[in-house]
Symmetry: D2
Subunit: 364 residues, 4 copies
């Protein structure tokens, strides 16, 4: 289904970086969900570039909901969000149209779309499109919160600087959702900002790891084969530009453990079944076990850098050298974390609707 | 769609560990693909336990194709593979039915299916089901090979022992597909086997990382949002029991790099556009760029161990202690690699059929 | 998704007329549904040819459920039904392989599958495959009945003989499900059988209309666009071989009415909203309104006739004359009605699961 | 997928009658398709009410393509069309909000969406939404025409007045697409208009049958089970408000024939295989046979009439009487035919892309 994701609840993304609008269609939402426009705006604000560590284009991200909402609540019919593109400087791109930016989709888009792609500002591949995802996700995040399902993402690492681990997850999620630079340890936050600024000074960029925790997902969500909770979440998460790895728990490190260390033993607490550890990230056999769902995304360093790079001229089929001008982020992790939250919430809403029916999300 | 994956080419899995059959339905295959039963049998053999490092149940994996093949070739209609379960000892399980094995799906299946699940031997969650995936994948792997697309997986690490990196990928794939214990460096292979045997002696298990390379996928496969090549592959890969992480290139390590180091610069070679490095694992913007597709799967240590573990009695809702009997693998990486190849090939067949049409896979 | 239908609850069909098995995979069924093997057998019996009016091949339709059922109840994992093909006379077909039977899929299959199709007995296009649909449908029909949803189909017409209209629908459904030749008026039943026998004597065949009523579907099922209740039902119904038209209510006749005659006015009865007439067949705006769902299927006369027919030799690309031998039904309406019931029940199960969640069908 | 239809090529509809915009997202279109805005406008004009026989609200149907088109051609990424709603008189509806209009979706929407639906002007159920379908369909119709696939629909009957049958289909399609009131026989056109005007004078409405022919679809499109060409087309066609029946050929009449009369015998003409008659509407076994695809839709009389009708007050749950004011069409067949063409073209584009690959539609 390409640019549509989800079955019971689905989201369709459209738009190009330099077209008139980007947007999203959310379908399958329960009727009666209250639309909190201030929260949507606040989420968009978190995605928006700000300060020295984000020098990309400034957009005020005015959004308009043009269908699916009536008298402030969802109707149950497709909800469409439009976000106009305003601060567009298309001339920046025409000159370098033929030069494939390394790490970007310029070359692959050119092959896939036979040269008909809107190349300006990355076109449909632009991180700009994630604004629509964030707006759509905000609606679902609000609704999930009323069902006591909360989502929070921290920057687990940038370059070699690591944040502290999740501890009291409920408190950590609350803290993360209240701050702009989503790091749990304030000293580490400062060190990470230093890394970003240093990279920016060098005309370079940095990457890192985002880690997300979700509380309140009932046990029993996900399928044994194919539509495992891990599989469906990762499917959606890899859409976020620059995400190149997804792990549940700390899998790539923890697979060095032995089974006796890795296994999460069960115990009874207040008549509920819990696990003593959570190496499995809240998922056994592809299905939620009621523990916090924890995963992380490896986010590559932003490919747009000012340093000179070798590349090719796609039209002339010859080697070339590229020096990017314009406005580019030296790091996107602090902006992307709200995209991760949005993608995770949309995915959960779909799986929960499948399990509990289309109206569940709005039920009291 | 739960236990079905794929759109143009799809696979549906069915069966329980202790039922009469497990099997798969492959739909959307091009007509005219030659069925190489010897190759299917050889692939099943690779998945089968053998020797000290695999002490699990022995099955001869006789398979029968009961639809979709006529006179040795695919008809284009659904192809169904049946594999009978023979070596079944269901009594082993009844006694411990109420005790949720840590790291297994016993508890989540019990919640999801309200106690109606076939709990014997893991039921529908059993690794046994992957035999059907391997048989289905073998058919597609043969067909892809005729289109010069080849797939190979090595054990990149077990515990702290690391194999060498991929080097000449074409040769490496050929080597891996010719050997049983898929490690490129023979000395490391021996060390890994030691790790497995040591764990087995301790009644414990080990995990590790499987890394896969795919050659010959043309540039232009995948979609910008949601159905990215990374997203679709990871969706399928997380179905493989014990896979808890998927990364493209060596993402979780490489995100520590700066953009100038991570970006894969383009150059022209023989009139084709290539990249000097392949940190992106052959994928830009969700779309194949013509370079080898390289990804790895974090495979957790097998959860079935002989060591005593704390758990709960799900019926009585009380704490309990579990001592597993029966036959269990101390490591599954050497068996799982052929499952990874199969899942990857099925996913690719689907995306290639979407792009080039349903008949492409059998065309000359 | 081709040979798979449904999202929340799906059915996958496989098999060829002369292969070892035909079968179906039912996925997404709620766990805990009781399997009534006698009812499945009884439904298969209704589909089976009998007497002078059905001279086709005799099969005892032994079926085996090989996955998804444990201790007599559904597990919630894919349920697979196998039905062996036994009474096979493949030689009948080889001689006339090149001659496209008019009205059959021989020619279109040959084009679509490039000559690789299993042509024996119609292969995957054979009405034989509907036995698997009937078995799958029987499981769902039993479960729906416990939710007070009942389905019944009568032969509304054969040639120019018309059955009486539905009257007391609950009683009519009960009657239809208790008899073999599903006609409400016994005199008309006799006349219809005469028509069939006369056609058979002439080496010819007859068609007609099947009309179905469904009681107990709650208001609110279906979607405004695309997944309308009419659209989803018709999508599935047109799979039934020989169905060439689907109408809700008596649409093709009733569209001659004026709006004031056609509109179904609402009224209150026992605090429930009902309609005085039911020209809309229980559906407004694509969504069930709580009235009986009523639709009919136009079933073309069986294309296999003994009369000489003009056709072509597909290999030689030349005109030819065909005289069919073997065993062919002069009419299939009395056998097809249970297929219609099955297809309708599978479709409803899917839409109801979407609305009320995956467990609804088995809840008390 | 609810308000989304199609797999390889999909369309998503959104919007309410009295919201700011209605629109559609077309995904999966081949890149490089020329956008003919004048043709889109002309198609929208055909759907627009005009003259005595259409007294509904006047809209100029300005449309804006806000994504997926660059320099006048499709990019291959989602194409979004917005059509603003301008001529809105929402006050007309508030007074009668509680009164369910017979034949409309007011009651079913109220049940499904628990009272949160936008009831003004039919909301998301309004025929107004079909303007977006027509705009989307126009893009695909243009592209299909370059592949020599043409589509045309005539009003086969209104009340008891019947148009002549299709004769030279290529010429008939050309004629139909050049005229506003799509009737092949001019005298019958006049009689039909009389019927409409008479009904309008009586405050009533009329229905009828639309018949469509499609030329140039290659043999081999469609699937044997579920995704039959009939099934997929009808699935989409039933979305068109007021369509209550779909038949291929003249099925509901022709099933009275015997097999020897109904079967379409094959013959060779210019080395191609054709059929002497076309009772099967160009489809055998669910797959196109290369003959014209012919189907008809039963379109019920417009439910909005001025005559007093019995209904219920949904809020008070009591009987009521409804006298509709405002602007209503006495007949919609002459407006709906271009919707049928659009829906058919979108469906074909999807199935052709599945068979021939995503780029086929734009290839030379």
């Amino acid at each position: 289904m390409k640019n549509t994701f989800g079955n019971s609840v689905s989201v369709t993304l459209f738009g190009e970086s330099h077209g008139p609008y980007i947007g999203a269609v959310l379908d399958g939402l329960a009727p009666g969900i209250v639309i909190d426009e201030a929260f949507i705006a606040a989420q968009l604000m978190k995605r928006r570039p700000a300060g020295k560590i984000s020098t990309a284009r400034q957009e005020d991200d005015e959004f308009q909901i043009v269908s699916g909402v009536f008298e402030g609540k969802t109707t149950g019919t497709p909800l469409t969000i439009l976000i106009p593109n305003k601060n567009i400087k298309s001339k920046d791109y025409a000159a370098t149209r033929a030069l494939a930016r390394p790490g970007h989709a310029d070359f692959t888009a050119n092959v896939k779309y036979h040269g008909f792609e809107d190349y300006r500002g990355g076109g449909h591949f632009s991180g700009r499109i994630t604004a629509a995802l964030v707006a759509a996700g905000a609606i679902v995040l609000s609704a999930l919160e009323k069902k006591r399902i909360t989502v929070g993402t921290h920057i687990r690492s940038i370059a070699d600087v690591n944040d502290r681990e999740f501890d009291n997850i409920a408190e950590d999620i609350a803290k993360l959702n209240a701050i702009d630079f989503a790091v749990l340890n304030d000293e580490k936050a400062a060190l990470m900002k230093d890394e970003i600024e240093k990279a920016a000074e060098d005309g370079d960029s940095v990457g890192g790891v985002l880690e997300t925790a979700i509380l309140g997902v009932p046990a029993g969500v996900g399928e044994p084969w194919f539509d495992t909770l891990e599989g469906v979440l990762s499917h959606a998460l890899f859409s976020i530009p620059a995400v190149k790895g997804v792990q549940f728990g700390h899998a790539f490190d923890d697979v060095k453990k032995r089974g006796s260390q890795y296994n999460d033993s069960f115990y009874i607490s207040d008549k509920e079944i819990k696990t003593a550890t959570n190496h499995n990230g809240g998922i056994n056999g592809g299905i939620s076990n009621g523990m916090p769902i924890v995963f992380s995304c490896a986010v590559k360093p932003t490919p747009s850098i000012y340093k000179e790079q070798n590349t090719v001229d796609m039209m002339e089929k010859k080697d070339a050298v590229l020096s990017l001008k314009g406005r580019h982020d030296p790091c996107i992790l602090h902006r992307a974390r709200v995209v991760v939250d949005s993608v995770a919430s949309l995915t959960l809403a779909d799986l929960l609707a499948l399990r509990y029916g289309t109206d569940w999300l709005a039920e009291n």
